[in-house]
C-alpha cells in the first residue's frame, strides 16, 4: 500500500527494476543502459533529437547567427528578407541572429536553474527524509512554506535587490522559488528508500549517514532526480520567458523571452512582423516540447508499464 504522493505517480518507484532492465538492455552495446531505454521510446527519441538540435544551435550560435544579435545598424522593422530571414526589430537588429543566440540563454537558464533547484531540493529533501525527527519537521515546514509562498512577489523582491538584473539573478530567482516541489517528492521517495535492507546493511558495514546518503541512496534516485531536473529545467525556461515578457527579465541578454517582450513592445503586431513575434514563441515551445518528450522516456525508465513494447 503506497502512501500517496499527491499529483505525482510516484516516479522512480521501481528504480531497482529500472537499473536491472537498463543494464540488461544495454548488454551488447556500448551505450549506457538508460540511454538505450530512452532511445527506444519513440517520443523520447524525437525529444532527444530536437534537444540535440537546440544544443548544437546554442553551442555554435556565433557561427550560425549571421550578425551580432545586438547590432542595430540595419533598417528598422523589416519583414523577412533575404538578408534578414526573420526581419529586423524596431531597433534594427536582426531577428534571426537573436533567435539563434537566444537558444543559448534558454538552455543555460534551463540547465543552471535545473541543476540549482534540483540540488537545493535534493539536499533539503534528502536531509529531511533521511534524518527524520525534528530536522524533518523543520525542513518539511520549510518545504511547505516554499510551496505556498507566492512566487511572483518573491521573484520581484529578489530581483529588486540586485543592482544588476543579470541572467544569473534570474536563474537564482527561479531556483530559489522552485525547489520546494522537488524537495517534497524526494523526501517521500527517500522515506521509502531509507527503510530498505541495504541501507541497514550499510549501517552494519559501518558506514556513516552522509556516505550512505551519497553512495547508497542517491544512485537509487537517479531517475527521480533526472525527472526532477527535467521538470525544473522546463519550468525555468518557461519562467525566464515569462519574467522577461512581464519586463522583469534581464534586458541586456538576448533571450526568447526578451525577444517576445520587445516584439510586443516594439509593435510587431502593428507592423505585421509575424516572424518576429512567432519565431521566439515557437522556438520556446519546441524546446519545452523536446524536454517534455524526453520526460516521457524518463517516466518509462521508472515505470516499466510505460515502456512501449
Amino acid at each position: 500500500m503506497s502512501t500517496p504522493a499527491p499529483a505525482v505517480p510516484a516516479p522512480g518507484a521501481d528504480t531497482e527494476g529500472v537499473q536491472a532492465a537498463a543494464t540488461a538492455v544495454a548488454r551488447g552495446t556500448r551505450l549506457p543502459g538508460w540511454f538505450v531505454i530512452l532511445w527506444r521510446n519513440r517520443k523520447c527519441r524525437i525529444g532527444i533529437l530536437m534537444l540535440a538540435a537546440f544544443v548544437l544551435v546554442a553551442v555554435f550560435a556565433p557561427l550560425i547567427a549571421p550578425y551580432d544579435p545586438r547590432d542595430d545598424a540595419f533598417p528598422t522593422s523589416l519583414g523577412p528578407t533575404a538578408d534578414h530571414w526573420l526581419g529586423t526589430t524596431a531597433q534594427g537588429e536582426d531577428v534571426f541572429s537573436q533567435l539563434v543566440v537566444g537558444a543559448r540563454t534558454s538552455l543555460v537558464v534551463g540547465l543552471a536553474a535545473g541543476v540549482l533547484s534540483t540540488l537545493i531540493g535534493l539536499v533539503v529533501g534528502l536531509t529531511a527524509g533521511f534524518v527524520g525527527g525534528w530536522v524533518d519537521e523543520v525542513l518539511s515546514f520549510l518545504i511547505n512554506l516554499g510551496l505556498v509562498v507566492p512566487a511572483l512577489p518573491l521573484m520581484v523582491t529578489l530581483a529588486a535587490y540586485a543592482p544588476v538584473r543579470g541572467l544569473w539573478l534570474i536563474i537564482i530567482v527561479i531556483s530559489v522559488t522552485g525547489w520546494a516541489y522537488g524537495a517534497r517528492i524526494k523526501r517521500s521517495q527517500i522515506i521509502t528508500l531509507r527503510t530498505r535492507d541495504y541501507i541497514t546493511a550499510a549501517r552494519f558495514a559501518g558506514d556513516r549517514t552522509a556516505r550512505i546518503i551519497a553512495r547508497e541512496i542517491v544512485p537509487n534516485m537517479t531517475s527521480l532526480i533526472v525527472v526532477g531536473f527535467m521538470g525544473a529545467a522546463l519550468g525555468a525556461i518557461g519562467g525566464e520567458a515569462g519574467l522577461a515578457f512581464l519586463g522583469l527579465g534581464d534586458p541586456l541578454t538576448v533571450s526568447w523571452g526578451t525577444m517576445l517582450n520587445q516584439a510586443s513592445l516594439g509593435g510587431a503586431m502593428l507592423t505585421g512582423q509575424w516572424a518576429w513575434l512567432i519565431a521566439p514563441g515557437l522556438a520556446l515551445s519546441l524546446l519545452i516540447t523536446s524536454f517534455t518528450l524526453i520526460n516521457f522516456g524518463i517516466d518509462a525508465l521508472s515505470n516499466p508499464h510505460l515502456r512501449e513494447d
Binding site: 543494464t23 559501518g206 558506514d207 544512485p219
Partner: protein
C-alpha cells in the same frame, strides 16, 4: 473428452530489447472433470506463463506461438473476446499468484462480487450469494463491507478463492495461491480448498513450487522444467518413484523434519537460459545421470510406468531405483548433506561461555491508526544466550516477534525493558541496548546480520566489490587492492569461485542464491563472532535453499560463529540448528535441542506449527 486439453502449446516472450524467450515450449496435457492436477517446478520455469496462456490472459510481449487450448470443446486460442468473456469465470476461473494484489483496492469486497455477478447477468441478491460464498471459505459476512487493505493476507486470499468459486466454475486455476502466507494460515486455506473441491467437484490446476503441498493435495502432478513438461504422473506414484532426475532432485530437497534422520539434497547449477537454443536435454547440464546421448538428443515426453517422462535415461530404464522419504534417498541425487541434529555436536559447544546474552527483553510498539493509538507487545520477557559454534533457531509464525528480536540483538532497536549483553574476546562486557555512535559501530564489527531478502539487501546500483569493501574499509581498514583481495577471499569462502568473475557484477546479474551468498560474505567481512540470519532462505527456490543452509552450517563450524537462525520453516531449522526457540506472540513457549523440540514438541503451539507442514509422505504412507 477431457475438460481442458492443451495441445502442443508454445508461448514466447519477445521483448523489444532482449532476445526472445521460449517460456513455454510444446506443452501438451489434459485435465478431466473434477481432477486435481498439480504443476510443479522451480521459479521461472514457465508455470505462470502456461497458466496465463490457458486463460488467454497473456499480455505483450508474450504471445502464443503454437498449439491450441481447448476447453470444454471450445478452442480458446482462437475464440473472440465476447466468446471468451462468456466462458470466463462461468466455467473457468482463477486465483492469481499475486492474489494479495488481485482485488481492486478502492472498492469494497461486496462490489467485487457484484461486479462479477453483473458481468454474467447472474440474477438474485448479491449480498446473499456473496455471504454464502464467504462462508464457504470460512469468512464472516462483515468482510463484504471491507476494503481489501483492511483484510489480512490470508483473508484476501480466501476472498479471492471465494470469488473464483462464485459462479461454480468447472475448472479453477490456482497459481501459487498461498505464497507469502504464514504456514498456519496456508494450512487453513488449503484444507478448506480440499473440502470445497469435494463438495463442489470442480477441477483444479494447482501451480506451485512448494512440492510438499502439491504432492499432498494433487491427484496427478506435472513437473515443468525449462518451459517443458518433464514428468506427468499420479501423485502417489511420483512420491514413490519419480522418474525424471529433476523431479528426483526437487523431491530430494524436501524431507519431513519430524523424521529421526533427515537428509536433503540439492541440484547444483541453475536452470537453462531459454532465450538460447539448446540441443539435447535441457536438464543435461545439472543431471547426475547424464549420458552422452542426453547432450545431443532432445527427449520426448513418453509414457513410462503409468505416467509420462521426458528423459532418455529413464526411458531406457537405466535410472537407479530409489524410494523417497528414506534417509538414503538423497544419496543418489547430487550434493547432499545431513541435518546437524544427526551429527555429533562438538563436545564443548554447550558449555562454551555465551557471547551474547539476552535477559528478560520486552518490546512494545505503539502505533497510531487514524485517531486511535494501539500498542503491540511484540516481544515479551525473552531470555536466551548465543554460544560460539552453536546455531540457535528462532521459529514462530509470522508476526510472532522474530525480526523484532533480531533488531534488538543487533541494536537496530532498543528493548522497552530487559538487557542484551555482549562479551568481547577479551572478556569485556557491553550493554548492547545502550550503545550509540562509535561504540555501536564497534559492536557491529562483532555482530553482523544476514538479511532475509537478498534482493533488497543489496543496493542494485553498487557492485559486489563495493558492497564487500565497505565493512572491510570500516572495520579492517583495508582499502584498494588489499580490500579487493580480501573480498575475493570472502567470496570464495562462500563458494562463489572464481571470485574475480563476481567482484564487478551488479546484484541483478546474480541469481538469488548468489546474491544470498554475497550478503553472507558481507556479513562475514568484519570477521564477526555472532551472526544473525533473519529468514535468509525464505525467498529462494527449494534447491538453492539447501545449498545456502549447507553453507551457513559450514561457516558456523569452521569459524566457530555464534548464530541466531530465524525462520518459520521447521525443516531448515531441523537441518541447521543445534537448538530451537519457539516464539508465539512474543513469548518463548518452548526451547531445547532441535531434535527434541521438533521430534517431540511439548507445547501446543509448536505442535500446531509442526502440523502445518504439508506431509505428502504421511499421505503416501497412509494410502
Amino acid at each position: 473428452m477431457a475438460l481442458l486439453e492443451v495441445d502442443h502449446l508454445s508461448v514466447t516472450y519477445t521483448p523489444r530489447d532482449q532476445p526472445a524467450n521460449r517460456a513455454v515450449h510444446d506443452v501438451s496435457f489434459h485435465i478431466s472433470e473434477g481432477e486435481f492436477v498439480g504443476l510443479l517446478g522451480e521459479s521461472g520455469c514457465g508455470k505462470s506463463t502456461l497458466g496465463n496462456a490457458v486463460l488467454r490472459l497473456l499480455s505483450p510481449p508474450a504471445r502464443i506461438t503454437g498449439g491450441r487450448v481447448t476447453f470444454d470443446g471450445v478452442d480458446l486460442t482462437t475464440a473472440d473476446e465476447e466468446k471468451l468473456r462468456e466462458l470466463r469465470w462461468v466455467d473457468l476461473s482463477t486465483v492469481f499468484q499475486s492474489s494479495m494484489n488481485s482485488l481492486n483496492p478502492v472498492i469494497r469486497v461486496h462490489a467485487q462480487f457484484a461486479d462479477t455477478f453483473a458481468a454474467h447477468k447472474v440474477p438474485g441478491d448479491v449480498t446473499e450469494r456473496a455471504t454464502e460464498l464467504l462462508e464457504l471459505v470460512a469468512l464472516d459476512r462483515r468482510v463484504l463491507r471491507a476494503y481489501p487493505h483492511e483484510l489480512s493476507g490470508g483473508m484476501k486470499q480466501r476472498v479471492a478463492l471465494a470469488l473464483a468459486l462464485a459462479l461454480r466454475p468447472k475448472l479453477v486455476l490456482l497459481d501459487e495461491p498461498t505464497t507469502g502466507l504464514d504456514v498456519v494460515v496456508q494450512r487453513g486455506i488449503l484444507t478448506r480448498l480440499a473440502e470445497l473441491r469435494r463438495e463442489l467437484g470442480f477441477a483444479v490446476l494447482f501451480i506451485s513450487h512448494d512440492l510438499g503441498t502439491v504432492l499432498e493435495m494433487a491427484d496427478r502432478v506435472m513437473v515443468m522444467y525449462g518451459g517443458e513438461i518433464v514428468e506427468d504422473r499420479r501423485a502417489a506414484d511420483m512420491l514413490r518413484e519419480p522418474r525424471h532426475p529433476y523431479s528426483r532432485g526437487l523431491l530430494g530437497s524436501y524431507a519431513d523434519p519430524r523424521l529421526p534422520d533427515v537428509r536433503v539434497s540439492y541440484i547444483p547449477g541453475r536452470p537453462p537460459d531459454l532465450s538460447r537454443p539448446h540441443t539435447g536435454c535441457l536438464f543435461a547440464a545439472r543431471c547426475p545421470h547424464v549420458e552422452d546421448a542426453c547432450r545431443t538428443t532432445h527427449p520426448d515426453l513418453l509414457p513410462d510406468r503409468h505416467g509420462l517422462v521426458r528423459c532418455l535415461v529413464a526411458q531406457s530404464d537405466r535410472l537407479p531405483v530409489v524410494t523417497l522419504g528414506s534417509a538414503d534417498a538423497a544419496a543418489t541425487l547430487g550434493s547432499h548433506f545431513p541435518a546437524t541434529g544427526t551429527l555429533d555436536r562438538p563436545a564443548d559447544a554447550a558449555e562454551a561461555a555465551p557471547v551474547l546474552t539476552v535477559t528478560g527483553v520486552s518490546k512494545r510498539y505503539t502505533t497510531r491508526r487514524g485517531l486511535r493509538t494501539s500498542s503491540v507487545e511484540a516481544v515479551r520477557d525473552v531470555s536466551f544466550a548465543l554460544r560460539p559454534g552453536v546455531v540457535t533457531a528462532l521459529v514462530g509464525q509470522s508476526g510472532s516477534g522474530k525480526s523484532t528480536l533480531a533488531r534488538i540483538v543487533t541494536a537496530v532497536e532498543r528493548p522497552t525493558s530487559g538487557e542484551v549483553r555482549f562479551t568481547g574476546d577479551d572478556g569485556t562486557d557491553v550493554r548492547v541496548d545502550r550503545l550509540r555512535g562509535a561504540a555501536l559501530r564497534d559492536y557491529r564489527r562483532h555482530v553482523q546480520m544476514v538479511f532475509q531478502d537478498p534482493f533488497s539487501a543489496l543496493n542494485s546500483t553498487r557492485t559486489v566489490a563495493y558492497a564487500l569493501s565497505r565493512p572491510l574499509a570500516n572495520f579492517a581498514g583495508l582499502r584498494g587492492a588489499a580490500a579487493r583481495e580480501r573480498a575475493a577471499q570472502l567470496l570464495e569462502s562462500v563458494g562463489l569461485a572464481p571470485a574475480g568473475q563476481f567482484l564487478d557484477k551488479l546484484p541483478h546479474q546474480l541469481s538469488g542464491g548468489q546474491r544470498q551468498r554475497v550478503v553472507t560474505a558481507r556479513a562475514l567481512a568484519p570477521d564477526p563472532r555472532v551472526l544473525i540470519a533473519d529468514e535468509p532462505i525464505s525467498m529462494l527456490d527449494v534447491s538453492i535453499r539447501a545449498e545456502i543452509l549447507e553453507l551457513l552450517g559450514d561457516l558456523v563450524r569452521d569459524r566457530r560463529l555464534a548464530m541466531l537462525y530465524i525462520t518459520h520453516d521447521l525443516l531448515s531449522a531441523r537441518l541447521l540448528a543445534d537448538e530451537v526457540l519457539v516464539l508465539n506472540q512474543g513469548v518463548l513457549v518452548e526451547r531445547g535441542p532441535t531434535r527434541e523440540v521438533i521430534g517431540a514438541a511439548r507445547d501446543e503451539y509448536t505442535r500446531l506449527l509442526l502440523d502445518s507442514i504439508p506431509n505428502p509422505f504421511a499421505k503416501a504412507a497412509a494410502g
